[in-house]
């Protein structure tokens, strides 16, 4: 059903933008004319009752007319019972009748009828109906104070006269003044993150307002670019995740907490290793770039943060030592919220960097409360949740013998150790042995916070340790400190905000992900250790190790792998309000991510028979990323024709320096001195990275909010980046976003009384992508690397690319239309967005014949990549009683990626992908095993069966690897102190389903599916015969790139389960505690899938899958 909906939705693109504009104008007209009409509206009512209360009468009128009565209960206290009977009388007359003997009067205002005390009534009526133009009433000057539930003054709250034109904002002390307001008029007070409040003006003109925190998602504070808003008033598409969602998930990378929760953001974890070794792919609304990075822009407390760490060199797949994941160096418990910005309206202010979406991370701050200490202790374990079904020892040996029989050969004692040397009666479950362990997970967090009206502070500290599922003591440990201080001067005009996050990560993970070895190791492979605890090298008759690849898989534990990373993110914001409504603000940010690595390959980790020709080798790495940013801004807030105008003008000066070195040292005389580079006889520099990136921009934003009904947002940015040629560094970006809160229209309120909130959003704008690497336009000459003995003692240099001064950024034009609705007093919220993004100016290689010196040159090609899709988001409060609450939220997203135009000079593969998703893969069409020969067959381009298809003509199947749709279903239950929440994540996508480790028949273990192989002439099978002499290698290789190898890898995963029990207030009071709970959190608890391989999310058989993590914890606040 869903897909059907989608296909219809996609046709929307056919409607031109002009048509949208016409529609918008029509909507605006309807809603405006309605309002004019509403002033004179008095429907007919009927009533019959004997001695009933006024309230009953009003309720009956409300039911009949759909209008609402607004009054203070105390007004009705002394009223007499009513006996009356009308039939189809105008409401106004009916009211006059019932109120005639009371000291009460009424007036209409839109769809509301206000009941007021009689002696002010005539003026009030006049005032409202004739507005401020008529001065013939006893209007008063109103002064009031706006405070929150904790008594804190709320500066900048908007106060407006309902249905009038007067509007103002509170000052720094929460005080506001309005002149010439008719008594009895209603003031609306709104403040971000709080519920809207309506208060009546009395004759003394004093109005104090206490605001209540919004429990409604629509009114919660949402962090956006250079400011904040609420979902209700946002013209852009922003999704925010709160700390409570992050805390419930035992993850060390905060980005993983977003999985399944953000419509439009596809997030997947590539492996289950801790400590930055796990790489997380984040893609917001598809791939916008042909070849360049699709990473979103990350901003942490105003400081741009690298999405990748620089590579630091390794011997092989060294965990955490290759290009790592910088989000590991951020403590999830320090995070207050993560906002994901998706459309042009939200991202255009980031100019040339916002094309792939923006993720804004905000850390925690102290509040105006008494000092308190929050403590959270958590411990648990992680494990591989799913094992693959591999051949048993008997089945493995049978496979091998059958392979030899098929080949007409006998096992060779020189090579086939699994049959001739090893003990073929001994069987080991290598999955259990090598990746079957339990990873330890421990986490301790404490934070101390508090404050008063002038100063608020928070100091937090955490310790986190994770080990691996592999045998051996490999671990990653992190210690972190976080603080933030807010201070406001006595005048309330000068403010300072300071925050810093510092983390030290000690990564001592092993040198290898053992998963790869595990899966292919024959069941009869020897024991890992000898009886005396030394490595079992299982030497053959020549004394050389008989282990596959010549190495005992556990020998990696003798290697040293240390990577120490320090990460400091600091931010200061100083602001000064030099006159009412105008504030000058400067944000200063600094980030230093520094890592030092040391890897040692001692002889202890090597087969002794190789010592004579091997060398001891150490690597030393030193890398850092340093970035600083200064953003002075001027903000203006003021009234403009009955609405509030907020404007922002700012500039960004950013500098980012990446540098690093990797040294390789060899020729140590002993394993013991390998940490000392001076003990090496040969040292060579493997890598020297240096990249300076400078970025500068001027940006402006104007937002206009007309009475919470019409919203408009306009953004411009002129933007310069050092990544491009001197004449192409600057470009302009802009966006326009409009919103119409149609639920405020009387007509709609009448027609759909259950509709409590409705907004239509429309945005269009241009953003760019400058993630093409630094200096790529220059013809750089770099020193030759890896030269051990430089020519004539001098390091030669060489150019690696052509000079291309014309490079510019890639451009993404984003269009979005969104509908947001709330029903039943916002208990049910439903959002829908449709977007259509077009990326052009693609920076891609323009192919050149190699005889010009290079095979390609980077150019902006007029190729076009489109991403269009839809996102649905539904959240409901299903049950809400005093003691029980059940809420659900559901989101589903679909993105369609299409290469709609290719350009001359692009590689031929793109030609085949025209009109298709960019990462479609071309495959052979598998045609089963030849029943006569037992060998794989494929269909060629003419549909004939062949053994050896042609790579340029016969790859006829296009397979899409983009997720077709994905999303999540979150349920939360609260019963008294017990809370239960679970998140189901679902993804429909394709993956490799043919997890073979080599040609079945070779000395590798295989999944049990190979047992269905061809055996005798006439057998019909999809698995070719076993063979071990290499004659079937090519048909096996073709099979690997055929549709036989790929299939559905969709899954539904119980991503998160959290159960907590909060201790009752009574007990807590006695213990001087607050908010104390014990809890169980679990991640990746269960997966439902048909996917036969290791893990449908990571889609890898060489990497340890994302772990099932279960933790137990206790959380308390001490005051």
């Amino acid at each position: 059903m869903f897909t059907c909906e989608l296909s219809r939705g996609l046709k929307v693109k056919a409607i031109s933008y002009r048509a949208w504009a016409v529609w918008l104008a029509v909507f605006l007209f309807i809603s405006m004319s309605e309002q004019l009409r509403a002033e004179r509206y008095s429907p007919l009512v009927s009533f019959s009752g004997h001695n009933v209360s006024l309230q009953t009468v009003f309720t009956s009128f409300e039911k009949q007319t759909g209008m609402a009565f607004f009054y203070n209960f105390s007004l009705l206290k002394g009223s007499k019972p009513i006996t009356a009977e009308f039939k189809n009388v105008p409401l106004e007359d009916a009211l006059k009748q019932v109120l005639k003997s009371e000291d009460l009067d009424f007036y209409f205002s839109g769809k509301t009828i206000f009941i007021i005390r009689k002696r002010h009534s005539s003026q009030a009526m006049k005032a409202v109906l004739s507005s401020t133009s008529d001065r013939g009433y006893n209007a008063v000057d109103v002064q009031g104070e706006v405070r929150n539930h904790e008594g804190e003054a709320l500066a900048g709250a908007t106060v407006s006269v309902k249905d009038g034109n007067n509007i103002t904002q509170t000052d720094d002390k929460g005080i506001f003044k309005l002149q010439q307001i008719p008594p009895g008029a209603i003031l609306e007070v709104t403040y971000q993150g709080y519920l809207k409040k309506e208060v009546q003006v009395f004759e003394n003109g004093e109005v104090d307002v206490e605001m209540e925190l919004a429990k409604n998602r629509l009114d919660e504070v949402q962090v956006i670019a250079y400011g904040s808003t609420t979902q209700r008033l946002n013209t852009g598409d922003v999704v925010t995740i709160k700390s409570s969602d992050i805390e419930n998930q035992p993850v060390s990378d905060p980005i993983l907490a977003l999985e399944g929760r953000i419509p439009g953001a596809f997030i997947s974890q590539n492996n289950g290793l801790p400590g930055g070794a796990s790489t997380v792919q984040v893609q917001i609304r598809g791939d916008n770039s042909l070849i360049h990075s699709g990473d979103p822009l990350y901003i942490i407390d105003g400081v741009p943060y690298a999405s990748q760490t620089p590579p630091s060199g390794s011997f092989g797949p060294i965990m955490g030592n290759s290009s790592g994941n910088p989000f590991n160096f951020l403590n999830p418990s320090d995070i207050e919220s993560i906002s994901v910005l998706k459309d042009a309206d939200a991202t255009a202010i980031y100019g040339s960097r916002g094309a792939n979406g923006v993720i804004i991370i905000t850390t925690k701050k102290g509040g105006q409360t008494n000092a308190k200490l929050d403590v959270n202790l958590q411990t648990g374990f992680g494990e591989v949740a799913h094992k693959m079904k591999l051949l048993s020892l008997r089945e493995y040996l049978d496979m091998r013998y059958e392979a030899f029989k098929n080949d007409g050969l006998a096992p060779n004692p020189n090579t086939d150790y699994d049959l001739t040397l090893w003990d073929t009666t001994r069987s080991t479950d290598w999955q259990k042995e090598l990746i079957g362990g339990k990873a330890q997970y421990s986490d301790i967090e404490a934070s101390f916070s508090g404050g008063n009206t002038a100063t608020q502070f928070l100091v937090g500290s955490g310790y986190h340790k994770e080990t691996t599922v592999f045998p051996g003591n490999w671990n990653d440990r992190k210690g972190s400190v976080h603080f933030s201080v807010n201070n406001t001067s006595l005048s309330g005009k000068l403010k300072l905000f300071l925050s810093a996050n510092y983390i030290i990560d000690n990564n001592a993970l092993g040198g290898f992900d053992l998963t790869q070895t595990v899966m292919s190791l024959p069941p009869d492979a020897p024991t890992l250790f000898n009886a005396d605890g030394t490595f079992n090298w299982a030497p053959n008759f020549q004394g050389v190790s008989s282990w596959p690849y010549g190495t005992n898989p556990m020998a990696v534990i003798a290697q040293t792998n240390k990577l120490k990373t320090d990460n400091l993110i600091a931010n200061a914001v100083i602001s000064y309000q030099f006159m009412r409504g105008i504030e000058f603000k400067t944000s200063l940010g600094y980030n230093l991510l520094q890592s030092n690595g040391n890897i040692e390959l001692p002889f202890a980790a090597l087969d002794p028979s190789t010592w004579s020709y091997r060398q001891r080798e150490s690597r030393f790495s030193d890398n850092q990323v340093e970035s600083s940013i200064i953003e002075p801004q001027i903000c203006y807030t003021g009234k403009l024709v009955g609405g509030i105008l907020t404007a922002l003008l700012g500039t960004t000066i950013e500098e980012n320096l990446t540098k690093g070195q990797v040294w390789d040292a060899s020729g140590f005389s002993s394993d013991l001195v390998m940490s000392n580079i001076l003990a090496a006889s040969n040292i060579k520099a493997l890598q020297n990275t240096y990249a300076l990136y400078k970025y500068n921009a001027i940006f402006g934003r104007a937002s206009y909010n007309w009475r919470g009904r019409y919203l408009c947002n306009f953004v411009v940015r002129r933007d310069g980046s050092s990544r491009f040629g001197p004449d192409n560094r600057f470009a302009d970006f802009y966006s326009v976003g409009v919103g119409w809160i149609f639920s405020k229209s009387t007509l709609l309120q009448e027609a759909f009384p259950t509709l409590s909130y409705g907004k239509m959003r429309l945005s269009y704008g241009i953003t760019g992508n400058d993630q093409i690497g630094d200096y790529s336009y220059l013809d750089l000459y770099s020193p030759l690397s890896g030269i051990g003995a430089p020519y004539q003692g001098v390091t030669g240099i060489r150019p690696y690319n052509l000079y291309t001064p014309n490079l510019k950024w890639e451009i993404t034009k984003k269009f979005e239309i969104g509908l947001e609705t709330g029903f039943f007093k916002d208990r049910l919220l439903f959002n829908f967005s449709y977007y259509f993004n077009t990326s052009s100016n693609q920076l891609a290689p323009y192919l050149l014949p190699s005889f010009v010196g290079f095979t390609a040159v980077q150019e902006n090609l007029p190729a076009i990549l489109q991403n269009r899709g839809m996102e649905f988001d539904l959240s409901t409060v299903n049950i809400k009683t005093k003691s029980f609450r059940w809420s659900t939220s559901f989101n589903v997203s679909r993105n369609v990626n299409e290469l709609t135009r290719i350009a001359k000079g692009m590689s031929g593969n793109y030609l085949l992908l025209l009109g298709k998703p960019l990462n479609d893969v071309l495959l052979y069409h598998f045609a089963g095993v030849d029943p006569i020969t037992g060998v794989n067959q494929f269909l060629d381009e003419h549909g004939d069966r062949v053994y050896q298809p042609n790579s340029s003509t016969d790859r006829t199947v296009l397979l899409n690897f983009n997720p077709r749709f994905y999303g999540g279903l979150d349920n939360r239950f609260a019963y008294k102190g017990i809370e239960l929440g679970f998140l189901l994540q679902f993804v429909q996508h394709n993956g490799s389903t043919f997890p073979y480790f080599g040609l079945p028949g070779f000395g590798f273990n295989e999944p049990v599916s190979v047992l269905n192989r061809w055996r005798h002439a006439g057998d019909v099978s999809n698995f070719q015969k076993f063979s071990q002499n290499g004659s079937l290698v090519s048909s096996f290789t073709y099979e690997q790139v055929s549709d036989q190898n790929y299939g559905d890898a969709s899954f539904v995963r119980l991503k998160n389960l959290s159960i907590s029990y909060s201790l009752s207030e009574n007990i807590l009071r006695r213990l001087h505690l607050q908010n104390t709970q014990v809890y169980i959190h679990a991640q990746n608890l269960m997966t439902f899938t048909h996917y036969g391989s290791l893990d449908p999310e990571s889609l890898s058989i060489t990497a340890v899958p994302p772990l099932r993590v279960v933790t137990f914890g206790i959380k308390a606040a001490i005051r």
Binding site: Y613, I653, N682, K684, N688, T689, Y690, A691, L692, Y693, K694, Y695, N696, I698, R718, G720, S721, S722, P726, R729, F730, D774, Y775, L778, D779, L780, Y781, S782, P783, L784, I787, G788, A789, P790, Y791, Q792, G793, V794, T795, G796, I797, R798, P799, L802, Y803, L847, L848, P849, S850, F851, V852, G853, F854, T855, V857, G908, S952
Partner: protein, 473 residues
């Protein structure tokens, strides 16, 4: 105001080139960096593992495989698919991983560097005059050296002498004459620009290291080019000049010829892989276990019977430049010109590119072709080479046919497994079809004359519509 803003902004996004790298603007501004570019070319020539067969130094391997000098262990079943193609002369132009295309693109990327160097050195003002002369000479020498091999391996090649990639991208195939003219012009210039002595890494100071080309290297290569273009007189004059420089050059004992900076060396390449002497030694010298078909282990080749049987009895070159291992009663002979193949042995050998013995043979061939009174001096040159190998003087006929055959034979046993001499000689003397016909049996192929030229990479044909593929592919 806007203009000021604009200017200010421009400054804020200006970054200098990275401290770790240079650009073509500043690289030719100083002696040291400009010299390092050419040093970079010399560095990559001997840097790669030869058996990968992708770089120019692999010519010694792949041409010898294409000709009749080497046997590929396991033949068609060898794990190294690329070498199988060269060995069986059946090159596929299309496959990027298994074709002649990498040598082609490798050479052309060095030509690009030489082209930029020649252009930039011509307008550079920051360099010492002598350094500029020397470097321009080296760049021209290298460009000629590269085109000589391109032309002789591929037959038809586009002639690219400018760095402008947009202009070059549609170049057609140039005629052999045109390419030879460019080679001769470059070498003639190089002859004038380069110094008499060998220079150090500063391209200025004199050194005993014969690892950068000097004037004599330019003359030696030019004499070879004249020989190939049958300009006998010029070939003779130039080789005589080199042979006449007895202060620098002279024939050594056989075991001394390939040592570093030997008197026989006119131009050598210094090994750059730490702990190792030449890559040739690492590839050719077989371990006790013999050759192997496993592509991961680097001993895929041994000498052919065609080569071994062409040594006359008593030829000391067979004793000193050939060695063998015995594995399961089979004897495998290997090229033993370079002898040091163990790690961390002292560096005693450099890769020989141009050496004096070839100059004697060039002069002999030029004089033989000039005929008449020159026949005797031709025989004398031939005998000089034979004498060093412990062989008696030439006793064959004085006619051109006999003498040419003797010189060709002498080149075969003198220059085997060196820089494709045998493969190129067979082609320029029209002996290729006969020789390869005899190799058909052990190679398991049916020789086709078109195979004497490698195919132009399909990639280049696709990207440049003006290129035409060689016949037979």
């Amino acid at each position: 105001m806007a203009a000021i803003l604009q200017l200010a902004c421009k400054k804020l996004v200006q970054v200098p080139p990275p401290g770790t790298q240079l650009t073509s603007d500043n690289v030719y501004a100083t002696n040291a960096t400009a010299t390092s570019v050419l040093t970079g070319i010399y560095t990559v020539l001997p840097a790669s593992s030869m058996q990968i067969g992708s770089t120019i130094d692999a010519i010694s391997l792949v041409s010898a495989l294409s000709a009749d000098e080497l046997i590929l262990d396991g033949g068609a079943a060898n794990g190294n698919a690329l070498l199988v193609q060269f060995y069986r002369n059946a090159l596929t132009p299309g496959l990027a991983t298994a074709s002649s295309s990498t040598i082609w693109s490798d050479i052309y990327s060095d030509i690009y560097i030489a082209n930029v160097a020649i252009e930039r050195l011509g307008i550079s003002t920051g360099l010492t005059f002598a350094v500029r002369q020397q470097l321009t000479g080296e760049a021209k020498f290298l460009r000629a050296f590269f085109y000589f091999y391109l032309l002789n391996l591929y037959g038809n090649v586009p002639l690219v002498t400018k760095s402008n990639y947009a202009g070059n991208a549609f170049a057609p195939v140039a005629s052999a004459g045109l390419v030879y003219n460019q080679i001769i012009s470059d070498l003639s210039d190089a002859q004038k620009l380069l110094t008499d002595n060998y220079v150090g890494p500063d391209a200025l100071s004199s050194t005993s290291e014969r690892v950068r080309p000097n004037r004599w290297a330019a003359k030696a290569l030019l004499s070879r080019v004249y020989l190939y273009t049958k300009n006998w007189d010029s070939a003779k004059i130039l080789s005589s000049e080199v042979i006449g420089n007895t202060g620098l050059y002279g024939l050594t004992v056989l075991n001394g010829a390939f040592l570093k900076n030997s008197r026989e060396a006119i131009w050598q390449l210094q090994p750059v892989n730490a702990g190792w002497n030449t890559e040739d030694a690492r590839l050719f010298i077989l371990p006790a276990s013999g050759p192997t078909t496993n592509s991961a282990i680097g001993y895929p080749v041994y000498l052919s019977n065609e080569l071994l049987s062409s040594f006359e009895s008593g030829d000391q070159r067979k004793a000193h430049w050939v060695d063998s291992v015995i594995v399961s009663n089979s004897v495998y002979y290997y090229s033993y010109k370079y002898k040091s193949a163990s790690i961390n042995a002292p560096i005693t050998e450099y890769v020989m590119v141009l050496r004096l013995a070839e100059q004697y043979l060039i002069r002999a061939e030029a004089e033989a072709n000039e005929g008449g009174s020159k026949i005797n001096s031709a025989i004398a040159d031939l005998d000089t080479i034979r004498a060093r190998a412990g062989l008696p003087n030439y006793s064959g006929g004085n006619d051109l046919v006999s003498l040419s055959a003797a010189i060709l034979h002498e080149r075969q046993v003198e220059l085997f497994t060196e820089w494709g001499h045998r493969w190129l000689d067979l082609k320029r003397t029209n002996g290729i079809n006969k020789a390869m016909g005899m190799a058909e049996g052990y190679k398991g192929i049916a020789w086709r004359p078109e195979w004497q030229y490698y195919p132009i990479p399909l990639y280049d044909i696709t990207e440049d519509p003006n290129l035409v593929q060689n016949q037979g592919y």
